[in-house]
């Protein structure tokens, strides 16, 4: 079958931008601000241009869509879109601007359905309306919340100052609690038209509206059984959700007709915190996003800020050893995360805790290594701008100082070599034999939760979910970073896009990670003694501009969109700090995957997406 591919899909980025400007001379303009890239599209013609970008230029994958509030600088808001080709290459960045008062930008949901949750998030946190979006309501905050918290003029509860560090801490820092002193207190406000004495909870009504309840029973009449749809709330405390996540499921008998994810129970406005923080402060906060793979989160954020720093004058890029160590950590994190997710997927399937504990046994060994190197098992906080916290220690050992302390003492390189060359490959073989032939597992997973190839791309899914559907898209190959170009590894893909394929993709990915790790061991030996500690101090001079740093995290593409804009003191803090969270965007595919299956399958389908609520809710 020959599909006529327009020649324009082969243009490189600058040619693409020129072509686009030529085609739409009045609607597409260069973004000429200092340090910014991409084009600004007239919002009235955004839909039309987006369609062309997807169909004629071949940017079929919309990675990230996010809003920025330039309150106090140019007093407008803008949506920033990052579109990629699934064949690889850099992003086409395009933006649409609107004024703050009556913020409105046409929805792109017809072009890229994956923008669904991201537009809802922008509506929720920034108050931008998206005409054309079929289900535009709050997604992270609760219904009935007053205001849009990411707007620059919105102050959070216990607000102290615009930026950290706070003046009250030094030099006369008498301790106080935020709740004792604060004018903003809990900062609960109600809309003006609410009469509190007659307050009734309407939040659930908006949720349930449009779920298709109360239909004429004859409509569903099958086999002579007269029945109505049934609404089941799975969660927020259902054990299968691995956190606080809720799915509103409409059932016809046992079969799922619609599924709507409800999230935000763990929402802490990570991005607002990130804007109050300095650039350096954010690194330990990224640990708390996807808390199972904190090394990967550090990596993504550090890459984004390094892109900005590289535009400045005094910046030395990280040494080769730093890159080797970073990739080592990122790949170990991938194994840690996949072991955990596969273990819990089997828990969801009813293989209760035996395989999960086998997987955890190996995971613990890697976490021991993290603890010896970075100082913490989960919240590693290891990477720095232009370096890492410290070199890998010679020996992994502790000193007994509490009662009953038992001492371990290992040579670090020996430990790593043992893990990488023997223990982990042996375990993967065993794990595969333990489960892959298992008939119950095969019955429960093959053909369940199918996500077709084209839908996976359209819904902007990423990571093993996307590759399980047969799309060989991996940021490590599509837009390589660090030392990945020189490493030899394959991108495993599935065929059918069902749970089983995702399962196998994860196992294969762990094997590929081990392959990468084996190539890193000689590099580690060869670079011994190279400097790894960064020269960038605790108050880096980050030049004005924007940067989008993305890494292939275990759960998928993790992106950090960082804008550095000066106030009177110069850019000390990120003006905008956005996390393109793979767990969050992958959930867009949950509904379409579940429809037509049974209730029990929802649990496994959710497990096969592999979400972490710390990252979903941010």
């Amino acid at each position: 079958m020959a599909i006529a591919v327009p020649q324009t899909t082969k243009l490189n980025l600058s040619e693409t931008l020129d072509w686009l400007k030529q085609r739409y001379p009045d609607a597409v303009k260069d973004d000429e601000r200092q340090g910014f890239s991409g084009v600004i599209v007239d919002k009235n013609r955004l839909r039309e241009v987006a369609q062309v970008i997807r169909d004629e230029l071949g940017f079929d994958y919309l990675s990230s869509a996010t809003a920025v509030d330039y309150f106090g600088i140019s007093n407008h808001m803008e949506m920033v879109y990052h579109a990629y080709r699934t064949s690889g290459g850099p992003a086409l960045v395009f933006k649409a601007q609107t004024d703050r008062e009556n913020a409105e930008i046409p929805s792109l949901i017809d072009v890229w359905p994956g923008v669904d949750f991201q537009e809802r998030e922008a509506y929720d946190l920034y108050g931008i309306r998206f005409p054309g979006h079929p289900n535009l309501k709050r997604i992270l905050m609760w219904d009935g919340f007053n205001g849009h918290p990411m707007r620059k003029d919105w102050k959070e509860a216990y607000y102290e100052e615009e930026h950290k560090p706070f003046d009250s801490r030094w030099p006369s820092g008498w301790v106080h609690r935020a709740e004792e002193r604060n004018i903003y207190g809990k900062n609960v406000r109600y809309p003006d038209d609410i009469d509190l004495s007659r307050l009734s909870d309407t939040s659930e009504a908006t949720l349930y509206a449009g779920l298709g309840l109360g239909v004429d029973v004859h409509e569903l009449d099958t086999d002579g059984i007269r029945t109505d749809r049934l609404v089941v709330n799975m969660g927020p405390h259902h054990p299968s959700t691995h956190g606080v996540f809720r799915m509103i499921v409409t059932l016809n008998g046992e079969t799922i007709e619609t599924l709507e994810p409800v999230m935000g129970y763990l929402h802490r406005n990570h991005e607002k915190i990130g804007e109050r923080n300095s650039f350096l402060h954010n690194i330990p906060f990224t640990d708390r996003l996807d808390y199972l793979s904190s090394m990967g989160n550090n990596f993504g954020y550090v890459l984004a800020v390094e892109k900005l720093l590289a535009q400045g004058a005094r910046y030395t890029p990280p040494t080769y050893r730093v890159e080797v160590i970073r990739v080592l950590m990122a790949e170990l994190t991938r194994i840690v995360n996949h072991l955990w997710s596969l273990g819990f997927l089997l828990n969801d399937l009813g293989a209760f805790f035996t395989p999960m504990l086998y997987a955890n046994n190996e995971r613990e060994k890697i976490l021991d290594f993290f603890e010896a190197v970075a100082g913490s098992r989960l919240m590693c906080n290891y990477m720095r701008f232009g370096g890492v916290f410290a070199d890998i220690p010679e020996r992994m050992y502790g000193v007994a100082h509490l009662i009953n302390d038992r001492v371990r003492d290992f040579d670090t390189m020996e430990y790593l070599t043992d893990m990488i060359t023997e223990r982990l490959p042996r375990f993967f073989d065993e794990f595969e034999r333990l489960l892959v032939g298992n008939e119950i597992l095969r019955d429960r997973t093959i053909g369940v939760g199918v996500l077709p190839y084209d839908l996976a791309i359209a819904l902007s899914t990423c990571g093993p979910l996307l590759r399980g559907s047969g799309v060989p898209y991996d940021v490590r190959r599509a837009e390589p970073y660090s030392i990945y170009p020189e490493l030899d590894f394959d991108i495993p893909v599935g065929k059918n896009g069902d749970i089983y394929d995702r399962f196998m993709v994860r196992i294969q990915e762990m094997r590929e990670s081990v392959r990468i790790l084996k190539q890193l061991l000689p590099r580690l030996e060869a670079t011994k003694g190279e400097d790894v500690v960064t020269k960038v101090g605790h108050t880096p001079r980050v030049p004005i501009g924007e940067a989008y740093g993305r890494v292939e995290n275990p759960k998928g593409e993790l992106g950090f969109y960082v804008v550095s804009e000066g106030d009177e003191k110069g850019p000390q803090n990120p003006w905008r700090y956005h996390v393109r969270a793979p767990s969050f965007i992958n959930l867009t595919a949950l509904g379409p995957m579940c429809v037509g299956h049974k209730v029990a399958d929802v649990v496994t389908i959710l497990g096969s997406i592999d979400i972490v609520l710390g990252e979903t809710d941010r």
């Binding site: 030094w170 006369s172 954010n282 690194i283 504990l357 100082g375 502790g398 100082h401 371990r408 430990y415």
Partner: protein
């Protein structure tokens, strides 16, 4: 045949079960009992699953392990400065602290009102602390370090969870115990076991003495050999005193200017 895969899987489970006991037989139970076999149980080479029986046994945490920070003070039996704070209240740790859980009151000379390099009060709200280790990493004086004592649970957060200077202070000796290699590395970077400022003063004194010796050696030896170096040293001391006085006067003047400016702004 249906069920073959399940049987294979169960065989692996069975092997795991047996593996755990193979080592038991080999080590005849010592693996659990004695300290020497603990690393054997924990190494990547160990077969089978082994748990650690907390709190009857605890894994000694590695050197870099970080938990709520403590303040380094000189050993209480130190000959010159027993119990002296290493902290100079320079204010870097409250600045780099991501959750802003460090409060410092800078020390002041009660007579002159000038800041002195010593904190008057130091607080850490351990409920806010996220154990990131930035304070220890960026402290230029090695005066704040991450602790290894992770058993800090208590019943009342409002009274027990704000640590003040007394509760935070721990001897240098303690840091040397819990992090032997890092303490040595830091010592090498500083050039000695003393505080950076003490090192500087010592180096200055040593330079003065060396200078004195040098001038003495250059001098032609006449009868009055002993008095000259003493006089030299005395004059070096006097010079140092003079320089110090000048510095203080300058700072005083700068402060006065600042106060005048502030007063002007208010007026």
């Amino acid at each position: 045949m249906y069920g073959q895969g399940i049987a294979k899987g169960l065989w692996i489970t069975f092997k795991h079960f047996v593996n755990t006991y193979v080592d038991d037989i080999r080590y005849a139970g010592r693996k659990y009992m004695d300290q020497a076999h603990f690393p054997v149980r924990q190494s990547p080479k160990a077969q089978g699953a082994f748990t650690v029986q907390y709190p009857d046994e605890k894994i000694a945490v590695p050197e870099r392990f970080r938990f709520v920070p403590f303040l380094v003070v000189e050993d209480y039996d130190h000959p010159e400065r027993p119990g002296h704070d290493w902290c100079t209240s320079c204010g870097i740790c409250p600045k780099v602290c991501p959750p802003q859980c460090i409060w410092i009151v800078r020390g002041q000379d009660p007579v002159t009102g000038r800041p002195v390099p010593e904190p008057e009060a130091f607080f850490i709200d351990i409920d806010l602390c996220m154990n990131c280790g930035y304070c220890a990493e960026f402290c230029p004086f090695d005066a704040i370090k991450m602790d290894h004592d992770y058993e800090l649970a208590s019943y009342d957060r409002t009274t027990n969870h704000i640590f003040d200077k007394d509760k935070l202070s721990k001897e240098m000796r303690y840091w040397k115990t819990i992090a032997p290699t890092r303490a040595v590395e830091e010592m090498e970077a500083r050039g000695g076991w003393d505080h950076k400022d003490v090192q500087k003063e010592k180096a200055k004194a040593a330079r003065a003495v060396a200078q004195a010796r040098k001038t003495e050696a250059e001098k032609p030896a006449d009868g009055d050999g002993n008095a000259a170096p003493a006089a030299q040293a005395a004059s070096a001391d006097a010079d140092a005193e003079k320089a110090k006085a000048e510095r203080l006067a300058k700072r005083e003047a700068a402060l006065a200017r600042k106060r005048a400016r502030e007063a002007g702004e208010q007026g």
